[in-house]
Symmetry: C2
Subunit: 293 residues, 2 copies
């Protein structure tokens, strides 16, 4: 396999890392002078849910590390029912890889895990990118049972990735066109794919969302203690994790810039991958102490 | 005067344009293939309140046009007590210049004028940049009498531009350092300066803010009718026009991206001029139909 081929999430091989009795599945590709960038995935997502149009441009300046948390994809163990336990697995994985400090791209569920890691062990991260996610005690986090989402998820004419097109994107022709292109990209890889997540994974992760919605102590106090440079990104019409959660993140984190995308839902980074990766690159390569980039 | 010298707001000459019995003061400098960029100014601001670190980099790809609305600086006439009348003056000025379509950078009061112009004559603008501003019926717009602002404005130890340092920036050392640099830049020009605004201008513009706060019809309905690509920018800790107004703009305008800056108040564009002008340039030079840039 050529080097160019292994620089993409359409072709980089999955690997397994044994740590403390767990076997964690991951892909690691790209190179450059930047710190490695850890990707933490969304609800029911696997290595193969990462859009190569997002991972591959970022892999041209640094290694990207895609990671299946415990019990997801080809990683062993039970799926934790709390964000804190997921954060523990991600830190054990990085320890096992020998990565002391990296940047992180946390998307949705993965953004919550990134926040928890930054809180539990600040030195593990330099810069954070948080897309479509929410702080502890956030608002209306992943209530798939609410009518606006349930009708699309339960529509029997929406099969497989068709559901993602309906819930990650808006109904505009432009957004639905971007949805088609996104699904084509994540279906491009034919071999070495993770098994799709079933109800057991979904139920455990949903329990973790419910626990994360619970307030513990003063609202957002833990955010004020996170001083990492952070870029917060959200689609302005996100129905899965509303944009108000990104407002609260950028207002309460110690050092965070916010970018919101027009005509976009939960999958804003997949709708505008060229823009997203350009901004993410500018943010990650900035040498300012400020998150302004 | 060399061409390089006339490419800066520290040295470009003020000019006067006679239209319909008014004499409007303006500066026009820069060049490039982009549409001209009209700058619409904040409360009590004049041509000399525009930071050369913001105007000059933008003038390398297009002409920038700085404009004193009626009764401000060296422009004649009474200062209007409504945004709608200010918009009428700005359109008459562009008509007089022979500019049929331009881009606009509306800051604070100037952003409201830009919104009104986009509503009244959509063809006047291609793209909008709106910094630290608010929609009609917005929240907590320029209440200088509230204690958090009044104590800084009325502090007798804050003379002249010291007040701007206190109300456009946060109290952090980094923001106050940026404030010092900003004031040095806008004081750099020694000749051909506008007279500073007095209480008569302030009172009329304050009346316009109060009128703009009044709801007319369904809240934000007029924003949904504005389909121009728009970049909304705000400091996350703006006490003069809170960031919630920028949230409502980006949520309700037809096609708007939002960028908020950390550790920044009303003067976010002057605190981070390199970042702001880089993003503004990327936005203005994008050929996408989307405001995502």
């Amino acid at each position: 396999m050529s080097s160019a081929k292994t620089m993409s999430n359409t072709s980089a091989p999955a690997r397994l890392l044994q740590v403390r009795g767990y076997s964690y599945a991951y892909r690691r590709f790209g190179n450059g002078s930047g710190l490695p960038l850890l990707f933490l995935q969304h609800f029911t997502g696997t290595l193969d849910s990462w859009d190569p149009a997002v991972t591959d441009p970022l892999a041209t300046g640094r290694e990207v590390i895609l990671f299946d948390n415990a019990g997801v994809g080809r990683s062993t163990g039970d799926v934790p029912q709390t964000i804190a336990e997921m954060a523990g697995h991600a830190m054990a994985f990085l320890d096992g890889l020998g990565v002391e400090t990296c940047d992180v791209m946390g998307y949705s569920l993965g953004g919550m895990v990134a926040l928890q890691m930054a809180q539990d062990r600040p030195s593990i991260f330099r810069r954070l990118i948080l897309v479509g996610t929410a702080p502890r005690g956030g608002e209306d986090i992943m209530h798939l049972e609410k009518p606006s989402l349930a009708k699309r998820i339960q529509d029997p004419t929406n099969q497989g990735y068709d559901v993602l097109k309906k819930i990650f994107f808006t109904s505009s022709p432009a957004s639905q066109g971007a949805a088609e292109a996104f699904v084509r990209r994540i279906m491009e890889r034919k071999d070495d794919r993770d098994p799709p997540a079933g109800p057991k994974i979904a139920n455990a992760q949903m329990a973790a969302f419910r626990e994360w919605e619970e307030l513990k102590g003063e609202r957002f106090a833990e955010l004020k203690a996170i001083h990492h440079s952070t870029l917060v990104v959200n689609g302005v019409y996100d129905e899965m994790i509303p944009v108000s959660n990104s407002y609260r993140l950028s207002e309460n984190l110690g050092n965070a810039a916010l970018l919101t995308y027009p005509d976009a839902g939960h999958g804003s980074l997949f709708q505008y991958p060229a823009s997203f990766t350009r901004h993410a690159t500018a943010f990650l390569t900035s040498d300012s102490e400020s998150a302004a980039f």
